[in-house]
Amino acid sequence: MSKILIVAEHDGARLNPSTGKCVTCAAQVPGASIDVLVLAADASAVAAQAAAIAGVGKVLVVENAANAESIAAVLAPQVAKLATGYTHVFGPSTTFGKDLMPRVAALLGVGQVSDIMGVGGSHSFTRPIYAGNAILTVEAPADAVLVATVRVASFEAAAQGGSAAIEKVDPGVALPTHTRFVSRSGATTGRPDLQSAARVVAGGRALGSADGFKIIYSLADKLGAAVGASRAAVDAGYVPNDLQVGQTGKIIAPELYFAIGISGAIQHMTGIKDARTIVAINKDGEAPIFEAADIGLVGDLFSIVPELEKQLTG
């Protein structure tokens, strides 16, 4: 019998889709009962969304002004306290979960399984190592609480239709004030979210400039797709960092992925290996991206991309 607590990721108003994917992962653990923990200043909206996920038994809610922003050092002691009685504590392997969960694990005096991509049993999991060039099967001791992050690209979103009970709890722990939120800046583009989009159009260094990237945005808008980028394009300043796809950026699993002017370094490939269909457009026919592409087209992207947009319109 596994009792799993999932730490919800949210922005105060909306539950992040990563939470539902953690539920899907947790549901694969044999005999699991699943609760979701929402830490927020005002949790009402997010708790209701968590309660609607099928398979969730209970939503635990901690409301505290200190939880208005997700500061790992503030959240971790609350999660660690509320982990009592659970066999597993899961969080998403997004920047939220990567920040928080190891701190929780250390407070509980246990290791962490990072990036679960498959469940083999209650304490047996697969996870990628070496940028996904090897897959490790690990077995964790069954006599200690198991803390893990879930590689969200490996799991489908959980179904809706649940009606879990919502219960307010008070962890009753002292919270540190040594870490203070100042600001957050991000592109609110109106485009689909890169991490959960069904279609992604991504560009690389070959776009040449921020201006050159306009054809990527234009094609993405035509397809209703999110925009992504290689590390090289982000480093060159063509696009902001939150568009980076790869080992150190976002790991994504869209239905359709366009890699345009992206050579396909292994660090990039690890971010897209779960994409259903990869389309590569590159002027270098020898580029490694073509080894992984389902459909490849060699040529000048500056003529191909506008033409593609045109033909998709027709």
Binding site: N133, L136, H178, F181, I295, G296
Partner: protein, 249 residues
Amino acid sequence: MRRIMVGVKRVVDYNVRVRVKPDNTGVVTEGVKMSINPFDEIALEEALRIKERGLADEVLVVSIGPADAQQQLRTALAMGADRAILVQTDVAVGPLSVARIFRGLIDKESPFLVLLGKQAIDDDNGQAAQMLGALWDRPQAVSCSKIEITDGKATVTREVDAGLEVLEVDLPAVMSVDLRLNEPRYVKLPDIMKAKKKPLDTVGLADFGVAEAPPFKTVRVEPPPQRQKGIMVKDVGELVGALKKKGLV
């Protein structure tokens, strides 16, 4: 002494295409080029720049690993670190043990800042800084792309999924660094000669009361599933046709 402690891990070089051993116990590391974990190199570069701005007196580099990790520590000394400690072990230790070792060293060395890479490119765990933050009961700033030190505090910019986040933390603190924080300097030959004279101490795991066995058992290591070979198309018309055939547009 205003000291910065930097973690340096010896890993398979990022350019090496790793291969899984035929017996599925791990990846091939014999005869493979080893380097400083690239994120750790960025952490070290940042420590050196903070020192060069007059905000620190000493940069101490620490590695946990086999005797051969001395090579990476010598490289770190050649880059400009003042002193090195090798915590020698032939058994791979997990991130919690790494955090416990650093926690032990902090008691002796009293750094105002500990800088680590945000993840090691071999096990891709990304845990050590956060775990150290917990054990030390101090602030953590993960995936930093900008660090400003001012009078007992630091303002850090972090790369997060939503964009960039700015935190203010009291010092001492532990930070993990991201790729865009800086570009590490190249090592010059005279610096390599000088580095040979810099102090490099070796200590054992026993000094930290850390168990040799990692917390999790490696059951199997396998190569990832291969994608099916795709098709090449000649022009945009064929591309659109192929996408339509798959029902994707």
